[in-house]
């Protein structure tokens, strides 16, 4: 994601990382440049974040996705907030005070239950296109209670229950509820609750169920899938402004 000094998004690009971390980062950078109509030389500061942050050789610095999601969300919601980031591989609950300082965070245990990877696996096992999962769950008015904790055992449980005549939509809704339960087990929510990450970008039902289950108003952040990148861009801007001050330049 590329922003200007006024924090306006100029361009962004999403690329599935795969095994080539450096290559996909380069491709994403080039894609974002193209959309922004910029050349690489016009970019003053680059910050890398996320799982592959250490593999981005053209970035000047790195910062964790925990800090970036916090920074990005606080930009839009400058008050006491809890950021719930539901990503492909992990979930995070991040608490910020009214000044935007992080007061605590939790990442899920070494387990895929409740993450985007869990939903991907379930969609694959149910032979439902990932993009249709949300719509399927919305057809249910009687969510199934999923008993298992483990991703592999959940798949077995779901297939067995379909064989015994339960409705697919009830089970899919139950799977989403299971994701929400895993999130709520991680820690307490306080202040305004903002959800980010790729999962809610394509499965907004998660935010609705989180609200239903927690009894709190839950909002989906703007451009949730790119919130981490936006936060990184804000850090990069701060960095560039610091350099400019030190060098006597204006941005």
């Amino acid at each position: 994601m590329i922003i200007d000094a006024a924090k306006t998004i100029l361009g962004s690009f999403v690329k599935k990382t795969g095994a080539d971390l450096e290559g996909s980062a380069t491709e994403a950078f080039e894609g974002a440049l193209k959309r922004a109509g910029l050349s690489p030389e016009e970019v003053r500061s680059i910050m890398a974040t996320g799982f592959g942050r250490k593999s981005v050789s053209f970035a000047q610095e790195t910062v964790t996705e925990i800090s970036c999601h916090s920074r990005g969300c606080y930009h839009y919601f400058p008050q006491e907030i809890t950021v719930v980031d539901i990503g492909a591989q992990d979930n995070k609950i991040i608490r910020l005070d009214a000044e935007g300082r992080r007061v605590g965070f939790k990442i899920n245990r070494k387990c895929a239950a409740g993450t985007g990877a869990f939903l991907e696996e379930m969609a694959y096992r149910l032979d439902i296109p990932l993009g249709d999962l949300d719509a399927v769950a919305r057809r249910s008015n009687n969510a199934a209670e999923i008993g298992s904790y483990c991703t592999v055992f959940t798949a077995t449980e779901v297939l067995d229950r379909i064989r015994r005549g339960e409705k697919v939509e009830d089970l899919v809704r139950g799977l989403y509820i299971s994701v929400v339960k895993r999130v709520l087990e991680m820690g307490l929510l306080s202040g305004r609750v903002i959800v980010t990450g790729g999962v809610v970008a394509f499965n907004p039902i998660v935010a609705e169920l989180l609200s239903e289950r927690s009894g709190r108003e839950v909002e989906i952040a703007p451009h949730p899938q790119e919130m981490g990148a936006f936060g990184a861009a804000l850090f990069a801007l701060e960095r560039a402004q610091t350099w400019a001050v030190q060098g006597g330049e204006s941005l």
Partner: protein, 416 residues
Amino acid sequence: MSEKGLRRKEIKAAFDLKRVTSDYYYRMDRISRGEEKGKIAWCTSVGPAELLRAFGFELHYPENHGAILGTTRTAMEYIPLANAIGYSPEICSYLTSDIGAYLKGETPLSKVYPGIESLPKPDLLAYNTNQCRDVQEWFEFYGREFQVPVVGINTPRALVEVREIDIASVVRQLMAMIPTLEEVSGERFDIERFKESLSLSRRCSELWGEVLGLAKHLPSPWTFFDGTIHMGPAVCLRGTQEAIDYYEVLKRELKERIEGGVAAVDGERFRLYWEGMPIWGKLRALSEQFSELHASIVVSTYCNSWIFSAFDEKKPFESMARAYTEIFINRAERVKEAYIAKMVREYRVDGIIFHDSRTCPNNSNARYGMPQRLEKRLGLPCLVIDADLNDLRCYSEEQTRTNIEAFVEQLAQTKR
């Protein structure tokens, strides 16, 4: 935002440590082979070492071997072997890695000490359940394998207060061991020898406490990661003069570091507490990451666990019973919480890292709300890392690194 190229600074006393450790293993090997007079007892790490030494036993500590299997990462080869004979992957991974290595007839000591082909064969096994019950079953396994006596102390657990009735129970159990120890060692119990070994152990413990205490200095001359290496004599050689001599050397060097303004972590910016077991297979990687982040782990429950302040040779049985019953791991949550709070103040700590070790519930203190209570009580951030002492299948490299980095980023927001 980290900086590359910062490495752990070697402590020169490590040369002495290597000699002391080498002498210890070769001495046990000679006894085991019948080349030197003596008997071998296997003892738990906070077991009745001083009483055993009073009978002339040389002591092997299976937990120390477990830690070696962890640091060499050979544990990962051996744990499944113990799992396959019915020792669950959910129980102590020291136990499963040590039993697995025994089943395969291997030890990493053979690579480090040429000529040592196996662990010294025990003549007796002695445990204390003050740390957990796994040690009892671990030693019972070897009792069956080697057909040697197993003696043990079943300490009252999870104490709020250490009462006289608790001490009396442990004293009686210590005394009840004596006939077996006499029979196996071939020596009569001599209270003066017992007092002498307790006196040596007390001095070792005091010195160990002093060297750990030097980390109160800003910047700290050494870290938890150094401590996990240099604690060897406090565990395996307490009750001997060698351990005392070693810690005098180490103390001198650390004092010199303080006088010379040498910090273990260059540009020490954050001071942290490590609660729980080390992640043995990742010590170097973690040490380097913390150094890069200018964070020094200055105090830990783990290293402090071999400070036995109650030892008093004038009351050998009572004081030994008290020392081994009042240890941190054997206490109720509220006592543990107060202890950590005290250490946080004394060492001027900025944050606490809890290692929730999958197979070591007894030495994992993030399971009953302690981090949350301490955050509230001390106004300090706490981080919980899910991993294990030896079983690296329970460890996620990326998740742990990100957790630590994000934690230090959080500390940086509040500490200017």
